[in-house]
């Protein structure tokens, strides 16, 4: 990641220059030349303020008249539009991006998108869809209009994410240790013990510095009020980070001049951070740990990501059949014989991890791995049984969890959640079932989610029946009017590229090593179908590059 640091340094040294340069471009375009020359001679602090004001004003007042492309854009009537406020002016962070890129490059969006898709296909940046024939690979469609998060908003998000993942990690350690939070009845014990993600085998495994959750992906959405809310936690094997890095690569490759002009924080050091966090898990006394990434194999939907991360980290990509446990130690089978593995970044589910303890029919895992972990001769990320913390029913208790472990109020609010195991809540939800989003607690990836207002009567009747049969298996949430973002959506009749609002979410990634590390960015997924709220790649979603602004 030497390059990353160099880029970062270059970025900082160019920060002030960038301001000036972007200003100059604007001045030329909008005939503010004389006014700003005067500003340039002022003190530095005042100058920056003046520049920012100038940019905002120009962007707000001139953009719609400058380009028919943006003039044709109609924001969603009810949802929060990420780029424009109600008055049609760009929001914080967007003004510079709009002026520098979105206005001037609008005619290139089509080309950029086509080139990005081609690049992903040729490079094999693909995912497999379950249920399709084996080997069917698809690309994750890329939308060239970036999503921007300004520095202030990001600072708050970052603090909220760290707080949340710390509490979730403490919860996992507690559940498989003393069980204090259950004894104190902050979280009902039976909720945990009956959770499909609870793993008795995890009791007694003590990872170094208590890190059960090394990698977390927290799904956030913005409601109509514009506030970020946690929609879902992913603390088992969250995926998507490779797209964050690849999307950025596409943008820098296709519009290189742009990334220099706008101060976007780099995401390319993620693999180095991940490797550092993994190395910190190594058993004490191991100075140069051998780390490997365990994949279920080429047919897994996230196989590209497994390849990408292992390549970027320079570690072995292994399958279960490459590994063997002997004398409570973990080895991989190399050409030169067996080689001990210290840390395993596993991207396979608990159920398949160790046929001795979990599903005996699993061919993907390593027999005896659990005993290796218990002996402390190797560590895995994420730990066994972390799924208790991202259970959709446990989610309802996360604000209480944060107060309990950290003595703080949650920085990031959650969505109001009704547990169907509670008879009163159930009665209330079933009365107006078409007003709620109904989620099975054990599933992830958007599978099994029923959106009340959009579901057919038959679907609702079926869901009602399933809830009554298995109340603990469901939660209900009010429909969140999730935010929208301008997105390229095909062509108008006259052949011009059409831009329209589409719903988006956000998955930032948090690493919990000896210290927390948050990737300044994340995966913005976009529901490409009009009106659709489901952004999952497996269900017709696409993605955008996410720009966290440096200042």
């Amino acid at each position: 990641m030497r390059i990353g640091r160099r880029l970062l340094l270059r970025f900082f040294s160019f920060l002030f220059l960038t301001f000036l340069r972007s200003l100059v471009v604007l001045i030329k375009a909008h005939s503010l030349r004389t006014a700003t020359r005067r500003q340039l001679t002022r003190e530095r602090g005042a100058e920056i303020v003046a520049i920012q004001t100038a940019v905002t004003e120009v962007a707000a007042s001139k953009l719609s008249s400058l380009t028919p492309f943006w003039a044709a854009y109609k924001a969603h009537a009810d949802a929060f539009d990420e780029m424009f406020n109600r008055q049609g002016a760009p929001r914080a962070g967007y003004s510079r991006v709009l002026a520098e890129f979105l206005a001037t490059h609008a005619d290139r969006f089509d080309e950029i998108r086509a080139r990005a898709d081609r690049m992903f296909l040729n490079e094999g940046v693909t995912f497999n869809v379950y249920g399709d024939s084996a080997g069917a690979e698809r690309i994750f469609p890329f939308d060239p209009i970036p999503r921007v998060i300004d520095a202030g908003t990001w600072a708050n998000l970052e603090a909220g994410l760290i707080q949340r993942v710390r509490a979730l990690n403490a919860f996992v350690a507690d559940v498989y240790g003393e069980g204090c939070i259950l004894k104190d009845e902050v979280v009902p014990a039976d909720l945990i013990k009956t959770s499909p993600q609870f793993r008795r085998a995890a009791a007694g495994i003590k990872p170094p510095h208590g890190a059960h959750i090394t990698v977390a992906g927290i799904d956030l959405v913005r409601g109509a009020d514009g506030e970020f809310r946690v929609l879902e936690d992913n603390v088992r094997t969250p995926s998507g980070v490779s797209y964050v890095i690849k999307n950025r690569l596409v943008m820098t490759r296709l519009v290189p001049e742009l990334m220099r002009e706008v101060g976007v924080r780099s995401v390319e050091h993620y693999p180095a951070d991940l490797l550092a966090s993994l190395c910190e898990l190594a058993p004490s006394g191991v100075s140069r740990p051998v780390v490997a990434l365990l994949t279920p194999g080429v047919y897994n939907s996230a196989f590209f990501e497994h390849v990408f991360l292992s390549q970027q980290m320079g570690i072995e990509l292994v399958e279960g059949r490459d590994l063997v446990c002997m004398d409570h130690k973990l080895y991989m089978k190399t050409v030169g014989g067996l080689r001990q593995v210290d840390v395993l970044y596993r991207r396979i589910d608990d159920d398949f991890l160790d046929p001795v303890v979990f599903r005996p029919d699993s061919l993907l895992g390593v027999p005896g791995l659990t005993s290796v972990l218990r002996a402390g001769n190797a560590a895995i990320a994420n730990g066994i049984g972390t799924g208790v913390a991202d259970d959709k029913a446990v989610y309802a208790y996360t604000p209480a969890m944060i107060r309990y472990y950290l003595g703080e109020d949650a920085i990031l609010p959650i969505v109001q959640t009704y547990l169907m195991r509670d008879p009163d809540m159930r009665a209330m939800v079933l009365r107006d079932i078409d007003q709620f989003v109904l989620k099975p607690t054990g599933e992830s990836g958007g599978y099994g989610v029923v959106i009340g207002p959009k579901a057919s009567d038959r679907e609702l009747a079926e869901t009602r029946e399933r809830i009554q049969r298995d109340p603990a298996g469901f939660v209900a949430q009010p429909v969140v009017q999730i935010s929208t973002h301008p997105t390229i959506c095909g062509h108008r009749a006259d052949g011009a590229v059409e831009v329209a609002p589409r719903h988006i979410d956000f998955r930032p990634f948090v690493l919990l090593g000896e210290r927390p590390r948050v990737l300044p960015g994340g995966l913005t997924r976009v529901a490409l179908r009009e009106g659709s709220l489901i952004v999952n790649s497996s269900q017709g979603g696409g993605s955008k590059d996410t720009w966290v602004m440096a200042a």
Partner: protein
């Protein structure tokens, strides 16, 4: 290095080499027939004999017409050795180890794979057989160039070399055998213009014609062609060259793996025997004693070396 990765490297390289030979064989046969029209009702049949695919072909096609053989050789996915099948298999192996390949090499293999999925029988009409195979051959050269330019010369490269060279030695031998047995049905043609033309075609299919002329001049004679394709030390598609590279790669792997077992190229092993045959032999002696028998022995030894390598380094389950 993981045994599974070694296995994928070996097979990736092997399938690419096999695909390349298939392309060369089909190409050369096509041009041979353009240049020397024949009365043979099935001039494409010998090609099936060379590759040992006669039975499989008969399962799906009636008679070995040009269209059908080209289809079978190039596009037919039910033929596990068709160019498309080999490319698919190479890419499937590459996919499992792409974290170990240079991104340039992966990109080249993947684009070849993606393009191959678009090939239709019409491709021969649209592009012309010559242009199609010419482009294909260039792509295989590019693949080889990218491997050499971007992959570190370590054990991983050695496993690729194993796959490439083993496949190459086998294919050279097979091609010579076919010419000797199938392309020459009538005794009176021996040494005649058709015979010379055919031997020239054999050389050309190994990209060896120019190199041969540099060594032996313009005259094409059976013994010299055999000498060149089997025993020449310097030509990169001779059996001798392949075995030399194979042995060097195996010995580097043995050195790295520190295995105490007997070496693959020990004197009485298949490797040792093959090296002896190709280093000490010469065309005159081999032809006198029976070329076919010699070539069969070479092919058998190649198969034996393959299984020794598999047992020692690739078997992992």
């Amino acid at each position: 290095m993981l045994r599974r990765i070694a296995d994928h490297l070996f097979w990736m390289a092997r399938y690419l080499e096999r695909a390349e030979w298939r392309a060369r064989l089909a190409d050369v046969n096509y041009h041979l027939l353009v240049e020397t029209p024949t009365k043979d009702p099935h001039p494409w049949a010998p090609l099936l004999a060379i590759t040992g695919d006669g039975e499989l072909f008969a399962k799906y096609y009636d008679a070995p017409s040009e269209t059908d053989v080209l289809d079978f050789f190039t596009l037919q996915t039910r033929n596990p050795s068709s160019i498309v099948s080999c490319v698919n298999a190479a890419r499937e192996n590459a996919r499992s180890l792409r974290h170990r390949l240079s991104s340039e090499l992966w990109l080249e293999i993947n684009t070849l794979y993606l393009d191959a999925q678009q090939w239709m029988p019409a491709v021969f009409d649209q592009q012309g057989v010559y242009a199609f195979f010419n482009e294909l051959r260039n792509r295989f050269h590019r693949l080889s160039g990218i491997s050499h330019a971007t992959m570190p010369r370590d054990v991983e490269f050695d496993f690729m070399t194993l796959g490439t060279m083993l496949e190459r030695a086998e294919n050279v031998s097979r091609m010579l055998d076919s010419k000797y047995h199938y392309l020459l049905p009538r005794l009176e043609d021996v040494g005649g213009p058709i015979d010379r033309m055919q031997w020239a075609a054999v050389l050309r299919s190994a990209s060896a014609l120019e190199a041969y002329r540099r060594v032996y001049g313009n005259q094409i004679a059976v013994a010299r062609v055999v000498e060149f394709l089997l025993f020449d030390e310097a030509f990169p598609r001779s059996a001798r060259f392949a075995v030399d590279r194979l042995q060097a790669a195996v010995e580097r792997i043995e050195h790295t793996a520190h295995s105490g077992e007997p070496a693959v190229f020990a004197a009485d092993s298949p490797g040792g025997k093959l090296a002896f045959l190709l280093r000490e032999g010469n065309a005159e002696a081999v032809i006198a004693a029976g070329l076919h028998e010699f070539l069969m022995e070479v092919q058998d030894l190649c198969a034996d070396i393959g299984s020794v390598i598999f047992d020692k380094y690739l078997r992992f389950e």
